[in-house]
């Protein structure tokens, strides 16, 4: 079975941002440009996460989704602050194929059932953001790891699957943005406990990390952010105007982020089959038949 490589694009207002542990966000550019490039380079899906999810930002998110859906023809998942069936309907209407739910699902687990009945299980991805506790257990958080839920992440995963989630997006807050590798134990514990696909997120710094989380972590798909974004920016500094907010200078010098080895999708996908991880060849995305 082919695993999926899913570029994750964190969105704040009109911009693509990236942080560490989902904090300290920096502006990288316009998400549509990154999305277009990833599509052409063989991304299997895309994930847009509205990391601020304010009422103020919602219209710009829908606009980004709309523009993206006009030119990319792979599945697009959108998450961040979706609280009602109307919110879900709005992003689906804008062109998303699936939605990712976290806070709304934690606050009212029945919402998973309602939403999956209304839109189909395959449309509903439940996002679980977990932090490893001193006793080795994992606890689920909301609001980018700021708000504790008291839920055991593995138990919550099982419950979410039973309520009708079509997939689980499992993010290790501890590893997110660090390049130290995925949390293999977190991923494996959840992947082995549920009958639905698990997308591993948070910590990728090398191709080897991707191989590990598939083979040892039993993930069905992986999210990549920094590795891809940094390669994109290095290649194509582009014409985006970064002067208003943040800049990409730090990426070019990188400093403490040196754990993250930037890589492009064709490179990553070329390396995987030899390591026993089948995937859709990147070349198929580039060839217009």
């Amino acid at each position: 079975m082919s695993i999926r490589i899913i570029p994750r694009l964190d969105i704040k207002g009109p911009n693509l941002v990236k942080g560490i542990h989902l904090e300290g966000l920096r502006v990288l550019g316009k998400p549509e440009r990154f999305a277009r490039s990833y599509y052409e380079q063989g991304a299997d899906e895309l994930l847009y996460m509205d990391v601020v999810a304010s009422l103020y930002g919602r219209n710009s998110l829908l606009e980004i989704v709309r523009r993206t859906a006009q030119e990319i023809f792979i599945p697009l998942t959108v998450g961040g602050g979706l609280r009602s069936l109307e919110d879900i309907m709005a992003v689906l209407r804008a062109g998303a194929d699936k939605v990712s739910l976290n806070t709304a699902a934690v606050g009212n687990p029945e919402f998973i059932r309602t939403a999956s009945r209304r839109f189909g299980s395959s449309t509903i991805v439940v996002s679980i953001e977990a932090i490893r506790q001193p006793d080795g257990r994992y606890q689920a958080y909301t609001d980018n790891g700021r708000q504790t839920t008291g839920l055991d992440a593995v138990q919550w995963a099982i419950q979410a699957a039973e309520l009708g989630a079509g997939e689980l997006l499992v993010t290790s807050i501890d590893r997110e943005g660090t390049g130290k590798g995925f949390d293999l134990e977190l991923t494996r514990r959840i992947a082995e406990s549920v009958p639905i696909p698990v997308i591993a997120c948070g910590g990728a710094g090398t191709v080897e990390h991707v191989v590990e989380v598939i083979r040892e972590g039993r993930a069905d798909a992986v999210c990549l952010a920094s590795m891809l974004h940094y390669a994109f920016i290095r290649d194509d500094p582009g014409t985006d105007d970064f002067s208003t907010e943040g800049n990409t200078e730090y990426l070019k010098t990188r400093g403490k982020l040196s754990r993250i080895h930037e890589a492009k999708l064709p490179q990553i996908k070329a390396a995987l089959p030899a390591r026993g991880v089948p995937c859709r060849p990147a070349a198929e995305a580039a060839v217009h038949v």
């Binding site: 299997d44 023809f73 599945p75 804008a94 062109g95 194929d97 189909g120 494996r188 009958p195 038949v289």
Partner: protein
């Protein structure tokens, strides 16, 4: 290619499925498509696309409630191309075993059955639903000639999201097969002017878009014939 847009395609809206991406794929292929729930529009357009994501029983109930069942059958009988996608293909069959037994549109004789959950214990088990990219293979070397799959390389990966698959009684209708875990199933079929695919061509990158382009070419030829006659 899209400067004259003579074609009119009805994307059937019965409240389920992502119609937007289907519409975008049509636009990309130069097909003038409209999302519609109007039975009359389904009858009047030159081609029909029946998309769908969700449960079979709910979908049939919605088609019935919106008086679309007979128009869809009539559209097929009139000879115009009909493209059924994912649940839209499954609905063409006689019946489904999803959450009980449900009658389908009965345009193609056959049934819709669940993907088997692999008997193997975790961590090696095959997950259901199947979500992701999987190659489609022609049943014979020339099986795709003249079909909407023409020109797509054998073994091209397409994007699937499903827990059920179709089993047509007449196996010669099958255009392509795909293997998931322990089984090889029908991933696309053709029955006269009806084409069905289990994958989502509008979410399958360039290979999937080729199906929409083929549909546009086919309609273009039909118009040329009409003009000549």
């Amino acid at each position: 290619m899209s400067e004259t847009k003579p074609t009119r395609v009805a994307i059937v809206d019965y409240g389920m499925g992502n119609l937007f991406s289907v519409q975008q794929a049509c636009a990309q292929a130069g097909l003038a498509a409209a999302v519609t729930a109007e039975p009359q529009t389904v009858l009047e357009t030159d081609a029909v696309i029946l998309p769908g994501v969700g449960a079979f029983g709910d979908a049939m109930a919605e088609l019935t409630r919106r008086d679309l069942v007979v128009p869809l059958r009539d559209a097929v009988a009139s000879g115009k191309p009909l493209l059924g996608i994912c649940l839209g293909m499954q609905l063409l069959m006689s019946e489904s075993h999803e959450f009980g037994r449900h009658r389908g549109l009965n345009i193609i004789e056959g049934e819709v059955v669940r993907l088997p959950v692999s008997a193997e214990e975790p961590p090696r088990r095959v997950k259901v639903p199947e979500v992701g990219w999987n190659p489609v293979w022609p049943v014979r070397e020339d099986a795709w000639v003249g079909s909407l799959l023409e020109g797509i390389p054998a073994g091209a990966c397409m994007y699937f999201v499903h827990s059920y698959y179709v089993r047509p009684v007449d196996a010669t209708l099958i255009l392509s097969t795909t293997t998931y875990g322990p089984i090889t199933y029908c991933s696309s079929l053709q029955f006269g002017n009806v084409f069905g695919c289990q994958f989502h061509p509008e979410r399958s990158g360039p290979a999937g878009l080729k199906i929409y382009r083929n549909l546009a070419t086919r309609l273009g030829r039909l118009y040329a014939e009409v003009e000549r006659s």
